[in-house]
Every structure is written in C-alpha cells, then in structure tokens.
C-alpha cells in the first residue's frame, strides 16, 4: 500500500511546454495527487486554471477527460447514459448484435464513468463546477470520494480502476458548500506579476522581440489597473492581443510608448470597459 502511495519521481508534476508553473502550485498539485484528493482551483478567468489540467495530462502522459459542467446537468449525466431508445429499437427489429435482454449493452459511460473505467490513470478535469447547483456538487463529491458509483438499471457498482487525478475549477466569488470544500484541497491562482508574465509570454511567443515584449506588458498592466474596469483583461487576452499586434504589419512597438494602443477590443470585451479604456488611452496621447 505504502509503496503505491509514494510518489515516483517520474510521476511528479514539473510543468509542461506551454505552461509556466510556479513552485508553489507544483507542490500543491503533487501533494493533492499523493493524498488522492481532488484539487479545487479558483481564480480570475484567464489565469490558467483549465490550462493547468491540460499541462498535467501532457507532462504525466495521462489521457485527459474534460467534464464541462452545465447548469442543467444532473449527476447521472456525468456518470453514465442508459440508451433506452436503441434498446427499444433493437427489441422491435432485432437486427443488431447487441443482446436486448442484457441491459449492460445499452449503458454508455459519460465523462466520470470513462475516467473510472479507463485502464490507464487519467486526469479528470471538472470545469466550472459553480455553474451547477449545490446538490449536484455535493453528490458528485460523494462519488469522487468513494471512487465508485451505482448503475441503477443493472444494479451494478462501478469502482474506479485507477484513481484519476481530479482537478476542479470554479469561477465563483461565492464559496462552495462546506461538505464540498471539506473533501478537496484548495488553491487560488493569483494573477501573475509582470516578471512571471514575461516568462509566460516568452513560452507562447518564442521569437518575440524584447522591445515588443516589454512595451506590450507595460501597457497591459497600466490598462489592467485602470479604475472602473469590470472585467479586467487576463493572460488569455494579453496573448491574443500580442498575436494581433504581431499580425499587424503597420505596428511598431514604439507606438505603445506614445500611447497609441491598437486593438483595444481584444483586451476589453465589455462596451463600458472598452470606452473607459479608450478614453484613457486618448487622454494619454494628448499629453
């Protein structure tokens, strides 16, 4: 038992190609994996919560299974599906090689079911859990806690062959319910500081010029700190923005210093924010 739990050096998470990882987060991911507890990630949209799961899967070479939570979702939808209609059809026409009297032939695994029945250890990403209601969250954690669920139609319990690495993300400012929190480890991904941001950008744009890098990041942080911005631009927006800047043949990094900031719409997506930002930019250009 103890041997299994000890983390193998190869199984430790050290970051991936497209993901800049700070030590702290790596430690948190590793300890959650060792304790076999789900890791709940919160943080501003665009700080790389979802990306983390992708990069864990990439670096540990595990298959990634993504469950995108929807507001109308019931727990059973996340576990398995019982395809009544196909069975009905088969019972009428009987031209398939499925056995109509064997209900199991008509059970299809959904995302959590797939993660449980996979032969290899998987990374299970449960994205935006806050969208669903509290009951769904609590019930799901029961399943993840016990690592098994029942299929009522065939009265069978499906245990997890391999405990998946579970990453849960939430955008909510509100806290999730206590029983839920009690069963997860928790981390809040803070927005990266300029130094970290430079690293992140360099990972995404290998041959970016220092000129563009510095000016774009400086301008970005100035714009981010504007008052009255409701949806602050995040890493994702910055990356798209730099991509846009690079694609524009007329653009020169020097323009940014002068206060000529193109493609504001890539950074600010709410019309009120956009106005506030473009007003500010124009004012800076005047002086």
């Amino acid at each position: 038992m103890n041997k299994i739990n000890k983390i193998n050096k190869d199984e430790q998470f050290k970051g991936a190609k497209k993901y800049v990882l700070d030590e702290e987060l790596a430690q948190i991911v590793n300890i959650s994996m060792a304790l076999e507890m789900p890791l709940l990630l919160k943080g501003e949209p665009g700080t790389g919560k979802t990306m983390l799961a992708h990069s864990i899967a990439e670096s540990l070479k595990m298959p990634l299974i993504v469950l995108n939570v929807k507001s109308s979702m019931k727990l059973i939808d996340a576990l398995y599906q019982y395809d009544t209609l196909t069975r009905l059809n088969d019972s009428r026409f009987g031209d398939s090689n499925r056995d109509v009297s064997n209900i199991e032939d008509y059970i299809k695994m959904s995302k959590i079911g797939q993660a449980f029945t996979a032969d290899k250890r998987t990374v299970l990403l449960i994205d935006e859990i806050d969208k669903a209601d509290t009951d769904f969250q609590d019930d799901m954690l029961d399943v993840l806690d016990q690592m098994e669920f029942d299929i009522f139609e065939i009265d069978k319990t499906i245990p997890a062959k391999q405990r998946p690495v579970i990453i849960i993300t939430s955008n909510a400012k509100k806290d999730l319910s206590d029983p839920f929190l009690g069963r997860c480890n928790f981390h809040h991904i803070a927005f990266p500081d300029p130094k970290m941001m430079r690293k992140i950008i360099k990972v995404h744009f290998k041959d970016i010029s220092t000129d563009l890098l510095e000016n774009a990041i400086d301008t970005f942080y100035v714009l981010r700190d504007l008052d009255r911005i409701e949806k602050k631009p995040a890493t994702r927006e910055l990356i798209n923005w730099i991509r846009a800047l690079q694609a524009d043949p007329d653009f020169k990094p020097k323009k940014l210093i002068k206060g000529d900031v193109p493609f504001l719409g890539v950074l600010f997506k709410k019309s009120r924010d956009y106005e506030a930002a473009s007003n500010n930019v124009q004012r800076r250009r005047m002086f």
């Binding site: 948190i28 109308s72 009428r92 009690g182």
Partner: protein, 396 residues
C-alpha cells in the same frame, strides 16, 4: 503535531475542520512534507478553503513560525480605516476635519505622528460609541470614514516563491486583497440570481419523451411510436419595484443600479416599476414617476406565480406609512394608508421579498423598516442577503 497551530487558526476565525487537519497529518506521515516551505503550501492547500482566509493564514503562519505579531482583528480594521483617513486627509483636509467635527487649523498644528495618534483615538472612540447605539458612522453616506471596501494597496502578487522562505512569503501577506468583501458587482449579483428560475416546458417539441414513447409503443403492440416533448425553459415572471425617490436612497443608487442592470439583461419576463418611499395607489413604469402609472389593484390580474421583488430602504416618516393621507403627493391620497396597500400586494403575490440596501445591523434604528419587514420578508441587499432572498422566493 502542530495542534497548537491548528487551534491558533481556529481562534482567529478561519473555519478549519478536524478532518482536514487529519489529512495534513496523513501528508506529514507519508513524508510528503520535508521543509517549512512545503509545510506552508501544503497546510494552506489542505486546511484553508477560501482565498478570503489566505491573508489571515499568512499572518498566523508568520506568527507561529517566527513570532511575528499576531493578527489583531480590531487592530487590522483600525489600521485600514486609519490609512483611508490619512489618504482622505491628504486629499481634502477640510472635509475630513468637518466630518470629525473639529477645526481644520487645529488638525494642521499636529505633527504627522500626533495626527495618527489622534485618528486612532477617534476611531477607538467611534467603535465604542457605535456599539452604544449612537450612529457615528453616518447613515447619510457622506462620512469619509464609511465602511471600507477600499484597498490601499494594489494587487501585490508574489509570483515565484523559490528564493524566499515560507515565513517571508507569509509575511508578505500577498492575499490581503482577498480578505475583505468587495462591493457587489454585476457578476456577483448574477451568481446569486442564477438560481431564480422557473423551468417549464416550452418551445418546439424536440426532445424525446422516453417514458411516453415506451408506453405508446407497448400500446401499439411493439410498433415503435416515438413521442416528443418540449424542453424545459425558464419562464419566470418577475415584478421588480424600485424606490428611486428621495435623498435617502441616494447612497445606494450604485448597488441598486447593478441589480437592475443584471435583472434586465437576464430575465425576459420582467416588469420594472418605481415608487417613492412606499406604495400608495400607484406604481410607476417610468423612472420619473410621472407618465405611466399602474394602479395597485391591477396587479391582481397577474399570474400568481409571479415573483414580486421590492428594492428600497423602507425608511420614511412613520405617518407616510400609516397615515390615511400619508402620501407626500396629494394626488395619491385615496384614503388607504400605504401599509394596507403593501399588505394587499403581499396577498396577491404569494412569493415576494423586500431587498433593503441598508445594512441589516442598522434596521432597528428605523421604525418603518420593522413595520414593512412584518409584511414582506426583508433581506439585506448584499450577496448573502440576495442568496437568502432567492431561497425564499423559490420555496414552494
């Protein structure tokens, strides 16, 4: 191990559970934690379940492992207020002097240190007096020392912790920004209102009704008969009545605006009405309360499933609420006191709430708030209050 640390966390008000403490022990037992740095990250990720508590955790950690000053709740708050006051003072000495009720010149004579001491004194005094029931922090909302929501320090993010000791990282207090509740933003209102919905089948019949299909197929002696049904859509009707008159609502305009904006974009079947202080004979469809009126009696024709939400401070002179001709508008005096109008509305709408932007702790200072809360279940217009209000509205 570390039991004392655990209790210290508990005593400063961080909700830490014994189960999570046992998990931490498990982690220690498995040799997953080999240094103070490891212990810092691991204990935080295991014990602390919200970014709000990260700052307090940092402080307790620094205290426990290095003897840094223990977080003193009172102290922290006064500290923040103090800084706000100083900022205010630098910006506009006169306004602050006026608010504190002292002469500006007298304040000018003090040295910076004395000034801080003086502010501290006043703040302590204020805490005491406040508890005594005297409303020192203004209800008018003009006081510069109003409830904070202001963060003197911008976002400070630690980023890499590689070269620093855990204690140092903890002492940096990177999570200070998250430790206070910010103002109600649209996103937060959205989150709270998400649960306010009434799913009914509507729209095209495009979903297979499995139960009905099986039943009809059996009736057909096995000849398959597939039946469809409409999918569930949200069809909740809402009447939102907003108090937009009088200076007493002025300080709350922003938060009401947020609620209003969100409700408008989110709910298709929403009717908004306006009133001043309380409801007499009519509610108005135009914010100016002049052109389009709807008589209270007409609401009786509404779908009984409609949810009625009042937003107002419910603060007025008692006669405005109880008097037979209490209305400040002559044309509105039909002989029915407002309170019976409100009661009437609460009877036609089986699901109704009153959201009050005034902080709940201040309610008992105003008599009319109590009177109205007897008629409509009243909730504070905050994230918590909204949540409770929604639960109430959706109850069967």
């Amino acid at each position: 191990m570390f039991i004392e640390f655990f209790y210290k966390l508990k005593s400063v008000g961080i909700p830490v559970s014994p189960t999570s403490f046992l998990t931490l022990q498990k982690a220690l037992h498995k040799n997953l934690i080999n240094s103070v740095d490891d212990f810092y990250t691991s204990s935080r990720t295991i014990l602390i379940k919200g970014e709000r508590y990260f700052d307090l955790f940092d402080q307790v950690f620094a205290h426990h492992f290095q003897g840094a000053e223990m977080p003193d709740y009172e102290g922290v708050e006064i500290d923040d207020l103090l800084r706000t006051m100083l900022e205010e003072w630098l910006r506009d000495p006169k306004e602050l002097a006026d608010a504190l009720g002292i002469d500006e010149d007298e304040l000018n004579k003090l040295s910076p240190d004395e000034l801080i001491e003086y502010f501290k004194e006043r703040l302590k005094e204020q805490t005491e007096r406040h508890e005594g029931g005297n409303k020192w922090i203004g209800t008018g909302g003009t006081s510069p020392v109003g409830h904070s929501g202001y963060h003197p320090e911008g976002m400070r993010v630690g980023g890499e912790s590689k070269n620093k000791s855990a204690v140092k990282v903890a002492m940096e207090r990177r999570y200070k920004d998250y430790s206070h509740e910010g103002p109600l933003t649209q996103a937060m209102v959205g989150e709270a209102l998400k649960r306010l919905r009434n799913m009914v089948p509507s729209g095209p019949k495009d979903q297979v009704d499995v139960d009905e299909t099986i039943y009809q197929t059996m009736r057909n002696a096995g000849e398959i008969e597939i039946l469809f049904e409409s999918s569930l859509r949200d069809k909740l009707k809402i009447v939102l009545a907003i108090d937009n008159g009088g200076w007493s609502m002025d300080p709350h305009v922003e938060v009401v605006q947020t609620l209003f904006d969100y409700a408008r974009s989110q709910f298709k079947e929403i009717k908004t009405y306006f009133f001043h202080n309380t409801v007499y004979d009519r509610l108005w469809e135009d914010p100016a309360r002049r052109v389009k009126a709807k008589r209270v009696e007409e609401f009786a024709g509404n779908d009984p499933e409609t949810r009625l939400i009042f937003v107002g401070d419910a603060s007025m002179a008692p006669y405005e609420l109880m008097g037979v001709d209490g209305s400040v508008y002559v044309s509105d005096r039909s002989g029915n006191p407002s309170i019976s109008r409100l009661r009437y509305l609460s009877e036609i709408f089986s699901h109704s709430v009153w959201l009050n932007p005034v902080a709940e702790g201040m309610w008992h200072y105003t008599r009319t708030i109590g009177e109205i809360a007897d008629i409509f279940p009243m909730f504070e217009l905050s994230l918590d209050g909204l949540d409770k209000a929604i639960t109430h509205l959706m109850a069967k």
